[in-house]
Symmetry: C2
Subunit: 1023 residues, 2 copies
Amino acid sequence: MLSKVLRKGSNVLFKSNNTKALRMFGACNVNSLHKFGEEIESKVMNMMQTQISKPTLRPTKEREAYSEAHDKTPHCNGCHKCGSWERDIPLMTIQEAVREANRCLKCNDAPCQKGCSTSIDIKTFIYCIQNKNWYGAAKCILSDNPLGLTCGQLCPISELCARNCNVSHTEQGAIKINRLQELAVRIFKEMGVKQIRDPTRKNLPNSYKAPIAIIGAGPASLSCATFLGRMGYENVHIFEKASRGGGITSNEIPQNRAPIEEALWEVEMVEQLGVKIHYNKALGRDFSLEDLKSQGFESVFLGIGLSDPNTGVKGTSKEFALSAERARQASNFHYSKHFLTQVGSAIKKGGNQQEELIDAPKLDGHVVVLGIGDTALDCARSAFRLGAKRVTVAFRRGFQDLRANDEIFEPARYEGINFVAYASPLEYEFDSNGQIKAVKFDKNLPQNNDNDNLKYKNTNQIFSLPCDHVVQSFGCVLPDEQWVQKLKKSDTLLDINTDTQQTKAYEWMFVGGDAVGTKNLVDAVNDGKTASWYMHKYIQEKHGQKVPETPELPGFYTEIDDVDISTEICGVKMENPFGLASAPPTTSYPMIARSFDIGYDFAVVKTAVLDKDTVFNVSPRIFKVPDPLRQECSYGNIELVSEKSLKYWVEGAKQIKKDYPNKVLIGSLMAAYNQQDWIDIMHQVKDAPFDMIELNLSCPHGMNEKGMGRACGEDPDIVRDITSWVTSQTKIPIIVKITPNYGQAEILAKAAYEGGAKAVTLTNTMPGLVDPYPDGESFNGVGVEKNVAPGGSTGSILRPFAMRKCVDVAKFVPEIDIFASGGIISGDHGINYLHYGAKALQICSAVQNLDAATVFYDLKTSLQANMYANSSQKLKKNGWKGQYPPYQFEKLKTPTSVETPQKVPKILEIVGAKLAKVSPIEKMSKEIIQVPEISKDSCLECGRCYVACSDSGYQAIQFDGYNNVPRIIEEDCTGCAICVASCPVENAIKMVPRKLPYTASRGIPPSSDCPPENLITIPPYKF
Amino acid sequence: MLSKVLRKGSNVLFKSNNTKALRMFGACNVNSLHKFGEEIESKVMNMMQTQISKPTLRPTKEREAYSEAHDKTPHCNGCHKCGSWERDIPLMTIQEAVREANRCLKCNDAPCQKGCSTSIDIKTFIYCIQNKNWYGAAKCILSDNPLGLTCGQLCPISELCARNCNVSHTEQGAIKINRLQELAVRIFKEMGVKQIRDPTRKNLPNSYKAPIAIIGAGPASLSCATFLGRMGYENVHIFEKASRGGGITSNEIPQNRAPIEEALWEVEMVEQLGVKIHYNKALGRDFSLEDLKSQGFESVFLGIGLSDPNTGVKGTSKEFALSAERARQASNFHYSKHFLTQVGSAIKKGGNQQEELIDAPKLDGHVVVLGIGDTALDCARSAFRLGAKRVTVAFRRGFQDLRANDEIFEPARYEGINFVAYASPLEYEFDSNGQIKAVKFDKNLPQNNDNDNLKYKNTNQIFSLPCDHVVQSFGCVLPDEQWVQKLKKSDTLLDINTDTQQTKAYEWMFVGGDAVGTKNLVDAVNDGKTASWYMHKYIQEKHGQKVPETPELPGFYTEIDDVDISTEICGVKMENPFGLASAPPTTSYPMIARSFDIGYDFAVVKTAVLDKDTVFNVSPRIFKVPDPLRQECSYGNIELVSEKSLKYWVEGAKQIKKDYPNKVLIGSLMAAYNQQDWIDIMHQVKDAPFDMIELNLSCPHGMNEKGMGRACGEDPDIVRDITSWVTSQTKIPIIVKITPNYGQAEILAKAAYEGGAKAVTLTNTMPGLVDPYPDGESFNGVGVEKNVAPGGSTGSILRPFAMRKCVDVAKFVPEIDIFASGGIISGDHGINYLHYGAKALQICSAVQNLDAATVFYDLKTSLQANMYANSSQKLKKNGWKGQYPPYQFEKLKTPTSVETPQKVPKILEIVGAKLAKVSPIEKMSKEIIQVPEISKDSCLECGRCYVACSDSGYQAIQFDGYNNVPRIIEEDCTGCAICVASCPVENAIKMVPRKLPYTASRGIPPSSDCPPENLITIPPYKF
């Protein structure tokens, strides 16, 4: 039998070439089947295994040879050979980012946010990333941290946000917050949208014209300038001694860790707020503090860093200090600070740099770096790239108490650097030309037997490392200048109030960054941010203005935030199309009030019934639709209508409309198919100031058995009757909420329209049953019996069905307005429903899943960003799909420059705009048959396309059994695209027009009855 | 406004206690709303933020204090203090495992399998884990590797499977294959099911009675014995010099890396095959090779390891060798081999150990370990646990070429061990009592400047490490015994044929493990596996029997594999309930033939139509339903019926039934609502030997516009008509495939039954629309226009809806048989459909997603395991749900001993068995109101329950804003269970009976119309 031929269990599986011949349908079957039909005769089968869990026998040496030959472990170990300055870690792919974002718990009281110096609202930006809302994510990041991109690249998160992450101790560890942050801001950068000042900050008093000086254009300064600019200060001047801004990120940290282009973009963003930067102006060299005062600057921020290398190191001997003094004369001696600046100038191109570029130091032979901080490791890794053949980092401590954290240490380790621990430098040794030829050390071993395990002492055991170059990296100190003296606390610290960054010496002077002992880039950014508020307070109070007790810094703002998303439905205007559906999030008026505070523009109250129909809920009644990762936003519920009295809903409506007169409040009512009941209920709510009333003719469970809900909604005649009974009682617009448990929504919508309804809500939940355990018991059954009932399925699982119904109603009953409801989890879903004809969007499952505020922020920013991007011809031309970047955006040759769309259409202009993209199959073009094209860059060589095509397609993909390269056999491909659907890598396979002519394969030719138009051969498509 | 009160943007967010008072609904609203209704008056709101992306200001020192106080990074650094021998790495949780399994690509030609010495079919076992099919996973692992549990604990996967993993270089790195493997086998171990010999291996010739001796009960030997036992050898004897089996895993590797209980379980599994183990019998000491021959053993496997410590080390001086000789006399000197054995004997309890337990060595002060292999690090880490205050590992190499891999090195590094690299040992220094007081080293530095960067030389720079104990770990050698001489290749290697493990000295003798230079535990297992086949070949050929050219080793087998899963539907018997649905996987007969080879028992051919209705497909036509992770098995398609001619389906049926007479072939037909067409088509297929015919009255797209498919299936009268036309033409059973695009499946099923159908298929795909991009364009649109059409949604997304329909038909039309179809991805789904009344299961989406063979293996083993487990009272009592272990299975006090269920029912006995668990809401018990209980062990403190309850529930959870502990406010809780549904941690919240009386809250009391039974107060439930 075939199974024997194809059976796994021999080395055939491992050695086969999977050639077409080998893949032929097994012998007995070929012989017997090939006598009929071209199809069976020629159809190949594949070498995929048919019998699982039969052991394979293979001597170990074959495993060894394979492992070696197919090593997929990412080791580079070659930077010192290739000398590449490419970024160490490529950007996360979008797919990886979405996966990581899904893993994040979005903790309510998120410890990551508290572990971030700049207090970025991390869970919100990660939620946006999960929904591919890049603008929402970037806005959130940049609001709290104007240097969010470089911080994303450089933050040692194991000491910051990730240190406090609630999933740190789970199998996959803390969320890679920095990587997500970098990607989101990077994508926003590529959109080319400018930062502007929040337009509400207009007509500010003269105090906002106060001149402010900022010394240095490093991270602390740029942050300070940004917040001052956002607050409305119009006269902010940065004086930078270098010829470009960014500080160490632009000038010192090597290009492989901090690409210059991205640091300079952050400088540009500061300038977009009107901040002026004056380059090549150094305090002390080109101007003095007195000059600033005399020029009228009312407040000064010092972001000067630590500019001078530390020549000695605590604990070294006098001999060492003497020898270090002599070493400075040697041309093969380098201070890390100078070394990195020189390398930066040579390698990092861009900015306002007007001086001639300095050449990079030329190294060779053995380079010894003294010290084990970040800077030392930057020097060591750069040394490799500059020609060193061998690099050794020597340091006094052991591996237990390195100063460099793992993020910095591990890449250095993998790059091939030697580490000599316990090495206490004694002196440099010189050759006859005064060049350093070796460094002498004393072995600095742990000596004491206490529990601490970490205390070292010199042992008088001497050794030396011969070398060709030395880089001494013992940190930096404040410049030895007059004006510094009054401010100093120590050689490396200025004296400040750590709550406000204000210097103790001058009330008008604030400081941040290295000069106050800041440990990280992001701490420096926070110094500038903190200082900005207290400078503001200082200036305003000086001008007799009050500032609030609680700091209120303005967030990041762009034209996207100005996109108008107002809409109108049933003649009622709304500021935005988002509102809460009639569901658990509208259980009570306080919840509705809170949603209005957040920004939702309407709410449909939970369905009210006549008191005689009052319900009592079973418990439990809300269930997650099981998905393998507990991440999908889909629920099943057997909750009934509101348990509140009808009177509650009437009285509350009066109050809520008084408090929120501009918000739209929609009633929701249910009764049986009984005219008097409907007249009664309409009579009882006549005083409630509802702006509209939704008729719930679609509740899927519990009520239908009593003749209500979907019992009324699954018959067009009943829908028409009830609607007309209601519309005869009131003038306010009536909406009918449609059940998805009926094939043709358009028939129901038509009936509702005929009954006088102005709108339909598409749809209510669909009756479904949540998987029990394999023993038939439910995890979460009701009551004593732990039974379950079929209940309403909502959320993502409902969306394909609700969206199809939206299209059907919009196409066939255009006279009725549509509220969409059904799996609107992200802004993308929102705009899709609008494109398909909805005018307003009802949210429920997204809010069951996460808090209403985060959801609203994501929905709103995403809708605005997509509408903005869809209106930009430039983005469209560059391959953007709304705010989705083109997949290979890193490779975009032309930087996307800033462009303001001519006009962003309003919501009502895009409603239904894409209905024409949905067509019946028979109206679809057949002139192109498409075939897959596999991107070599993206393919992970898993062979899933081959598997799918073999077992569920047309056996039109070959897969080489040893080298793992899938290959399309175009002549066999019918273009079904199962390969695309089964590929685990987003966008790795795309469909392209077929190059060969195509005829459908009929197996055995059909009779002459066959419609001749279906027997044609389609030529290759010519564009 | 409220938004101001609640606004984030101040430190309030960080400092609030979220007390009830703070959570009160904001001032203005409380005053205005509280005048009506108890509900609004008392209802609290929460401190959750309402305004997102307003910057927060906080001085950096606050971040520092928080980070420090709330450090969640898992560092232990304390083993040397607590002395714990607990397993280093706790088992992965099931949820983590499923997540990791989802991330695996399940590569077809999986490189991980080729990178595994024992060639475990990794992608299959990971697929089973993804589906929580623990038995399927364990069977797959143990088939190829009988020591799958200890290998899962100890394999250095970065050198093995993971090294070749196709996702190695992605953001989250290689799949954690070892961790998944360990978990799956561990769960199987807890089931307590015995290994048995495959019952087909009966009536074997006498040659299988040949006595076989295996020397040593270490990994290689146990593996060899297992495969011999599985092949049917009845006379296999293991002679082990120690008092328990398992080799180094049981005796040497420390308990924190290899728990003894699990190693001993693997020994037990070998014994279950009838292998006899004789303890305390050492070759050379208790018997000789000659003894074995004279006792009639026909073949011998030597799994003796390397028993003697290597006293010197290559490259050390004569002085060192002399001094090492003297050191052996010192009581503070230890050879690693002896040291670990002594520690193992003291710490690892269990097995046949009859000798008195040896005490563990008592250590203190500073322990120096020489060497840097796995063993050296095991010694170093054990030293801490035995009382050492400080441990230093000294070794000759640098950090670039450690022998220990990262899996071993990193834990040692984090545990606080000091590492002295570049230390070439010169001599031991002794005190006056002959004890070692220090070790003297020469600094062994990299000297040459070549690119290699890794060559070392002594430098005559001497240093010494004072110490209180020394462990010398320079590897092991063969024993210096007479019988070894003839076999030796070197001091550490026996001389063998590496293809077969046969010794060059004796054709009857085979060797594996350390004595032939094996590098890893798993390599040793493979040595034994390889040897077993060639020992078999040697013995059989000696007895004049032939063995196949290609090795055929038997897999793992238990009673579960004997569970009968035959079924019967429409009077037709099937060996198992699985078959392919009429869909792309049955596009052609070769594909059907292959599915039969794999084991599927039936197939429904792709729907055939009259030649006049022949179709032509558009391209592309199969789409993945977008989910955030591309992992959900849900598709949308606009594929039409078969493009093949009707004749192809008729002629092919004859051939396929000839080749597979015992398989069930089901035709599938479609025509319009036209009696003559149906008569014609039935006439044309009358010669096809279909066992049944399915009528496709449900194709959701493309055909309905032509009056076929669901156009015929959405009207019960048409369904009845067509069915009766067809049943009047034939005697073979007719099945009607039902559309889900109709509210009540039971009405359609009843009509089909009335028309004479014997069965229905529930269901076809449901019309839906796949999300486009946010610019309204489709990634994968059809033809030139790139348009889309609503198409059939299948797979997971369909399951809740199809399952509900299955329940409805089974309950209300019990007279008709049911084929289930709709998202049967895992065996769990299969058994659930059976429990809900289906008799056979049609598969499609699962096979679109992965190859048909892997899917079948998973479905079958899972169904068998669940049926077996459901029949075991002991498992049920211990909290198992089918084969799902109780969540806290690690904490089970009573080990689950082996138990054979009295009787496993047959499929037809479980069909419909759980229908009674599904009940209408009004029949559900209201006497228990449940409230959540949060497990402190599992809670990750994310606050998602609080969020959901606040915005979508009843504000009945408090969440402390600083310490992050959620607390249930029982009096406010209505038991909706949104908290359970929104919790990201599986099983962290369960619902328990309420302790307080409960009355539903009505906001404002309803009128006297309200049914009094709904106004009751429910007392706390008493069990």
